[in-house]
Amino acid sequence: MLTTFRTRLLILSTILWCQPLVAATDIASNNSELPSGLDPANAQATLWAQGLSSYDSGAYDEAITNFSKMLVANPAQGHVLYNLGNSLYRAQRTGEALAAYYAARRYLPRDPDLKANIAYVETFTTDKLKSQFPQAPWQQAFFWLPQITLTESAYLTAGVAGIAILIFALGLFLPNIKKATLVINAGLSAVSAALAIGTVIKGQNFSLWGAVTSEQVAIHADKNQEAAVVFELRKGAPVSLQERDGNWTMIKISDGKKGWVENDNVRFY
């Protein structure tokens, strides 16, 4: 009986741990489309130093150029995106600044400076929309999700599941501690299952957030200028990328409304 139970537990743990991996794979495959191949380290260091120095001297456009060049080599650099956001804000490009901050948030979700700057710059926006979709009540039980990245979530799940399986293995080799191992194993399996489900939710709900860069823009029902205007947004309004088709982007805002907008009016990093 015990063997049967343990075998089932092993299979269940393996399945649960594989799920977040699948979710992480999706995101990684998305990222793989982005430019890759790091510049030499010294080139990055030079750009970083020049960006900081330009910012300090008030040459914000120059700072923007330097930080943007760093992102061409690797777009997933949270700190570079953060500094780019600051430079864009100082250059009075509020919409793009927010887009850079939202991108930085994907990689630095717990950074207090980033949170403060997003809150600060959002005060200058007119539409006062949220930059995340509302969660279903049951999803709110996964309270830790906004605080961690998808990779971190996958690490946590794999780590806890691995420890649970290791303890289970230990119980097989040392039969005298089997009762204690069962209890610990059950607890860790439950935590691992919760983490795995959380990772899957995070993977499925992954959205690329950006912001409106024009002073005011009409959102159309279809991808042409003649299509009916569904609603209007103003500079800095957070929007989520849904689809791209030529010169048009389908966006969705936090209250669920969708529409098409010309690419020049929104920015995603």
Binding site: M1, L2, T3, R6, T7, L10, S13, T14, W17, L21, A24, I27, A28, N31, L38, A41, Q44, W48, L52, Y55, S57, G58, M70, N74, A76, Q77, G78, H79, V80, Y82, N83, N86, Y89, R90, R106, Y107, L108, D113, A116, N117, Y120, V121, T149, L150, T151, A154, Y155, A158, G159, A161, G162, I163, A164, I165, L166, F168, A169, G171, L172, F173
Partner: protein, 610 residues
């Protein structure tokens, strides 16, 4: 004034004339019959009348005129639409209907009132109104109505009038002016209803509340109700202020004194007369801001302003903060205007605070504004630094020209601080700056300077290896443990292990079968239970249970640490069962149930122990 046509009267008079002639000629009874018949026809025909009346035939633009259409007859057709008259606004003012039956003669009277409001002065002709009464088309006479622009003669001091006052009727674009509407009244009015059309080309700010005062005009003292609003022109040009219209009910001067003292009609029934009052025409000429002499860094502010500035400390140690406060105050709007220009030396770190903007709406001075701009200045290098000056360009409405406000900020002395230099070497002087900004809490937090920018936050191959690798290794360990365990057991051991695992389930199934069969053969059921219990103990202890005697069984139970009281119970129950099975002992359902319960408890305990 009445416009009325009574068509059947002629027929009636003709009948009476003929009757008189017939009598004079000594006509017979047939003539009398004709008289009665004619009389009856005439009486019936009298019911069909239509009349239209006006309550007054002349008045001024402030007056309302009531046109009453009265229809009388047996069968009254649909009420007609009032014929349109250019320059008169018409709406229905109510209807009344009366019905009478005198000696079998039925009569209806229908009255409709139309309210006529003149839109301009002049003479208006109200065309005839046509209506079907008792199957015939009846129509009223046309009526004439004279409307004058000003008060009618003899009414030089009106009971109510409205004035609109502008603080400036030739403002510049962006200049805030006060527009007041004063309602003068020397009578008590009721049911007031004010309306004013929207005004284009101006931003409007309502001033809440009204001001009440008394003012003498001519021979009368009026109560004045003053409403006010701020107007800010957004484009140049000539504009007419929309007419302010007040509709209200005032006491009827022709009504008895008791009724005039009761304008609300609480005591004396229907009250005064409805009147409409309009403000005089008022024009505003909005002047554009001159392009000549407009500075390139014009802030956009229009009004009259003053500039002040001060430093919280003129001397600070290196790395410390001083606050520069620049205050703009004056009459006019500062919201939306560019901030003052300040050029501070590069040797200082400058963090701008979020500006504090205050606005005060005043019914006499329009808008009073105050904006405070604060800057945290951090001295990174020792020395004395000239802070330059702060400037602000605005358009002065008094002189009609652009003016520059200027304030010299003096200099800031930064004294050397060795501690700051040590900290600066480690942190690039950011700790102080960042803290200063966080304290202000109203600006961006600075750059991430010492962060590891080389970190690739994507899910990399290394991440995959770790995420897959660790649980995979753990799973391999677990799998190894399972295989090892399986290999360590021979088939007999595995069989014994399986029997041990399923022992309690087998025992429970066996007792359930026995309980099901006890109604037919209770002794057989007892035998089944005893056998099942012994087999259960045997499976648990990996021995041949069926062959166990009671003594051996109790010994085995004691060996695994079973509670002595439970062993005693087991011994007693098994002896009883033996007696029933082999000695023909007494048996009934009650005893059977008791044995079953006892054995179940013992089995559960043994299952826990093994």
């Amino acid at each position: 004034m009445t416009g009325k046509m009574h068509a059947p009267i002629g027929i009636m008079f003709t009948s009476f004339a003929r009757l008189g002639a017939a009598c004079r000629q000594g006509a017979n009874r047939f003539a009398l019959l004709v008289l009665c018949l004619s009389s009856a026809i005439s009486t019936a025909a009298i019911g069909g009348t239509l009349s239209g009346t006006l309550d007054k035939s002349q008045g001024n633009l402030n007056d309302e005129f009531v046109y009453t259409l009265t229809a009388e007859g047996n069968e009254i057709g649909d009420i007609p639409e009032f014929p349109p008259v250019t320059g008169l606004r018409i709406h229905q003012g109510g209807t009344s209907n009366s019905y009478s039956n005198i000696n079998g003669k039925v009569s209806n009277s229908y009255e409709v009132r139309f309210i006529l409001e003149p839109e301009h002065a002049g003479t208006f002709v109200i065309p005839p109104v046509t209506m079907t009464i008792d199957g015939k088309q009846e129509k009223t006479f046309p009526l004439k109505l004279d409307v004058t622009k000003d008060q009618v003669k003899g009414d030089t001091e009106p009971e109510v009038f409205i004035e609109r006052i502008l603080s400036d009727d030739t403002p510049f674009v962006g200049e805030a002016i006060v527009a007041k509407t004063q309602i003068f009244t020397r009578v008590q009015f009721s049911q007031p209803r004010a309306s004013v059309d929207p005004m284009t080309g101006f931003q409007k700010i309502e001033i809440q509340g009204e001001k009440n005062f008394r003012k003498a005009v001519g021979a009368f003292t009026y109560n004045v109700i003053e409403l006010a609003e701020i107007l800010i022109p957004s484009q140049p040009g000539d504009f007419q202020m929309p007419t302010f219209i007040l509709q209200t009910v005032i006491p009827d001067p022709n009504a008895p004194a008791a009724r005039r003292r009761d304008p609300f009609g609480m005591l004396s029934g229907p009250r005064g007369i409805r009147k409409k009052y309009r403000s005089q025409e008022k024009f505003i000429k909005v002047k554009p801001l001159p392009t000549k002499g407009r500075p390139t860094d014009f802030s956009g502010a229009v009004g009259r302003f003053q500039l002040k500035a001060n430093l919280s400390a003129a001397e600070i140690p290196q790395g410390e903060t001083t606050t520069l406060a620049v205050e703009l105050v004056g009459l006019g709007r500062l919201k939306g205007a560019s901030p003052p220009k300040i050029t501070l030396p590069d040797t200082l770190k400058v963090y701008a605070d979020k500006p504090v903007e205050e606005e005060r709406i005043d019914r006499d001075k329009a808008i009073g504004s105050k904006s405070i701009y604060k800057f945290a200045l951090v001295g990174n290098k020792a020395g004395s630094f000239d802070l330059g000056k702060v400037t602000f360009w605005y358009f002065d409405t008094d002189s009609g020209s652009y003016k520059q406000l200027q304030h010299n900020l003096g200099s800031l002395v930064v004294t050397a601080n060795p501690q700051f230099q040590q900290a600066g070497a480690a942190t690039d002087g950011l700790t102080t700056n960042k803290q200063a900004v966080k304290t202000l809490g109203e600006d961006l937090i600075g750059l991430h300077r010492n962060a590891d920018y080389t970190v690739d936050h994507r899910t990399t191959t290394a991440d995959f290896i770790w995420i897959i690798g660790f649980p995979s290794l753990a799973s391999l360990c677990a799998l190894g443990g399972l295989i090892r365990r399986r290999l360590a057991q021979n088939p007999q051991q595995r069989h014994q292990r399986q029997r041990k695992t399923k022992a309690l389930r087998r025992y429970t199934q066996a007792t359930a079968t026995a309980i099901g069969s006890n109604s037919q053969d209770l002794r057989q059921a007892v035998l089944t239970v005893e056998k099942a219990f012994k087999e259960f103990v045997g499976d648990k202890l990996a021995i041949e249970g069926r062959a166990l005697t009671t003594a051996e069984l109790t010994q085995q139970l004691a060996a695994i640490g079973t509670d002595p009281a439970m062993i005693t119970t087991a011994q007693k129950v098994l002896n009883d069962l033996d007696q029933v099975n082999y000695g023909g002992g007494e048996i009934n359902n009650s005893r059977f149930d008791s044995w079953l319960n006892s054995l179940q408890q013992i089995a559960t305990e043994v299952d826990k122990l093994c």
